[in-house]
């Protein structure tokens, strides 16, 4: 985990990172674990949530190239994506 105040990431170069807002730290850790078991690296981070009025939220940051795979793995694990950034 790291503090992250980066501006929105819209560059989808091989090294660009995307973010899924999962709300709680429990959901973010659960997501990180299921992704790890699918050989997808993701980092748990806390940052401004994707719902503007809400406040901070936890989520996962991952390579934008993996966005579709990440979404599929989380869906199959019933982990709800509250919002996204960089995608």
């Amino acid at each position: 985990m790291r503090s992250d105040k980066k501006s929105k990431m819209t560059d989808k170069t091989p090294h660009s990172m995307c973010f899924f807002d999962l709300g709680s730290v429990s959901s973010a850790i659960a997501a990180q674990k299921v992704l790890a078991s699918a050989a997808i690296y993701a980092e748990v981070i806390k940052r401004e949530g994707t719902t503007r009025s809400g406040g901070c939220a936890y989520g996962i940051e991952f390579s934008c190239q993996q966005a579709n795979n990440v979404r599929a793995v989380l869906r199959s694990s019933n982990i709800r994506i509250r919002g996204s950034d960089g995608i």
Binding site: D4, G23, S24, V25, A30, K33, G55, C56, Y58
Partner: protein, 356 residues
């Protein structure tokens, strides 16, 4: 205390994440132990009573009816009695037939079924009694609840870590247990294990901060953060995790067999003392309830204490169970076994009881 001093789910620093990961590990281990499919259904609480209040008061609404067993602890009885007194719910008590030696499990289920009404929302019962060796047929009662579409809530304070629990197979919707008994964790920590089905029905009974979406006035919709407010007892949860791992390392069957062996030995030795009565001597388990004729239970407990033997006497917060078993005024003495006890401990205990 040094490693898990960060506040989980609050900061973005390493200590906070390490604490959050440790707590998640405990959710995973507990969910494996009791066969709960989603670790996020594990909600940490202060103790079993706290967990039961969270489930009972979160689930029940105006006009609901609840069925409980005659073995229930005050952690179930008192919240329901208050809700009934306030005109919110009504409850009925079924006969667990604990005092019968050769009871028919289906007869117990029939005594539950007879009490079901159109507005029955849940059946709440202990898995194992906290005062004696009685065990309720939770799998059969769970099947009955499933058939009627009723929630099934189990107080596993005396069975978690002592006996196999399979929430899925037993059709348990919510299970509440402490850290400090059969799971060998510290005091001041417990949990409610919630299936997705019941978690979607529960209202919150506490509201407050949980570290994210601070500008939203409502609690989040999802477990566990919906029900965990304020800072969690991370060191206690880390201790519980080690306790669960200890239980898994020895194995539930091995633990149960060792406790039953101690029960058999204690029973044999106690019954050799004139005037000793054991309640439900035919049912082996991790607790044994007895009295000695002519010695009030609290007095006997004090005498045992002077021999460095720690037991609990009286009514054990379980008035219904004492009435069902027919213990005399003053209650009875409960001894409990763990994997650390040896026959030599029981020899010392029996010597002390003999002198009383």
């Amino acid at each position: 205390m040094k490693e898990y001093c960060g506040n989980p789910g609050r900061g973005s620093h390493a200590l906070s994440l390490v604490a959050a990961e440790k707590i998640y590990e405990c959710r995973e281990e507990l969910s494996k132990l009791i066969s709960l499919s989603d670790p996020l259904g594990i909600v940490f609480t202060l103790n079993t009573t706290h967990a039961l209040n969270l489930v009972i008061k979160g689930l029940l609404r105006q006009g609901d009816h609840v069925i409980i067993s005659d073995m229930e602890h005050n952690s179930v009885l008192r919240p329901l009695a208050k809700m009934e007194k306030n005109g919110v719910i009504e409850y009925s008590v079924f006969d667990s037939l604990a005092e019968q030696k050769d009871k028919d499990l289906y007869e117990i289920c029939a005594s539950v079924e007879r009490l079901i009404k159109p507005n029955t929302k849940a059946v709440i019962c202990s898995h194992a009694s906290n005062i004696c060796s009685a065990v309720l047929p939770v799998e059969e009662i769970g099947a009955l609840c499933k058939r009627y579409g009723i929630f099934f809530i189990v107080d596993a304070a005396q069975s978690a870590g002592h006996m196999t629990i399979d929430m899925e197979k037993m059709n348990i919707d919510a299970l509440c247990a402490p850290a400090h008994k059969g799971l060998y964790g510290p005091q001041g920590c417990g949990f409610a294990a919630l299936t997705t089905k019941i978690a979607s029905e529960l209202d919150t009974i506490y509201e407050g901060g949980n570290g994210y979406m601070s500008f939203e006035k409502d609690m989040p919709e999802t477990s566990p953060e919906r029900y965990e407010v304020g800072t969690l007892a991370t060191p206690a949860v880390a201790g519980l995790l080690e306790g669960v791992r200890f239980v898994e390392k020895i194995g539930l069957e091995e633990i149960h067999e060792r406790e039953c062996e101690l029960f058999r030995y204690a029973r044999e030795r106690l019954l050799s003392i004139k005037g000793v009565e054991i309640y439900l001597p035919w049912h082996e388990g991790s607790v044994l309830l007895f009295n000695k004729d002519g010695v009030e239970s609290e007095r006997l407990a004090r005498m045992l204490s002077s021999a460095n033997i720690c037991v609990r006497a009286g009514y054990h917060c379980s008035p219904l169970a004492h009435v069902s078993l027919g213990t005399p005024p003053g209650g009875a003495v409960r001894i409990s076994f763990s994997v650390f006890n040896k026959r030599s401990d029981l020899d010392a205990f029996v010597r002390a009881v003999s002198k009383a």
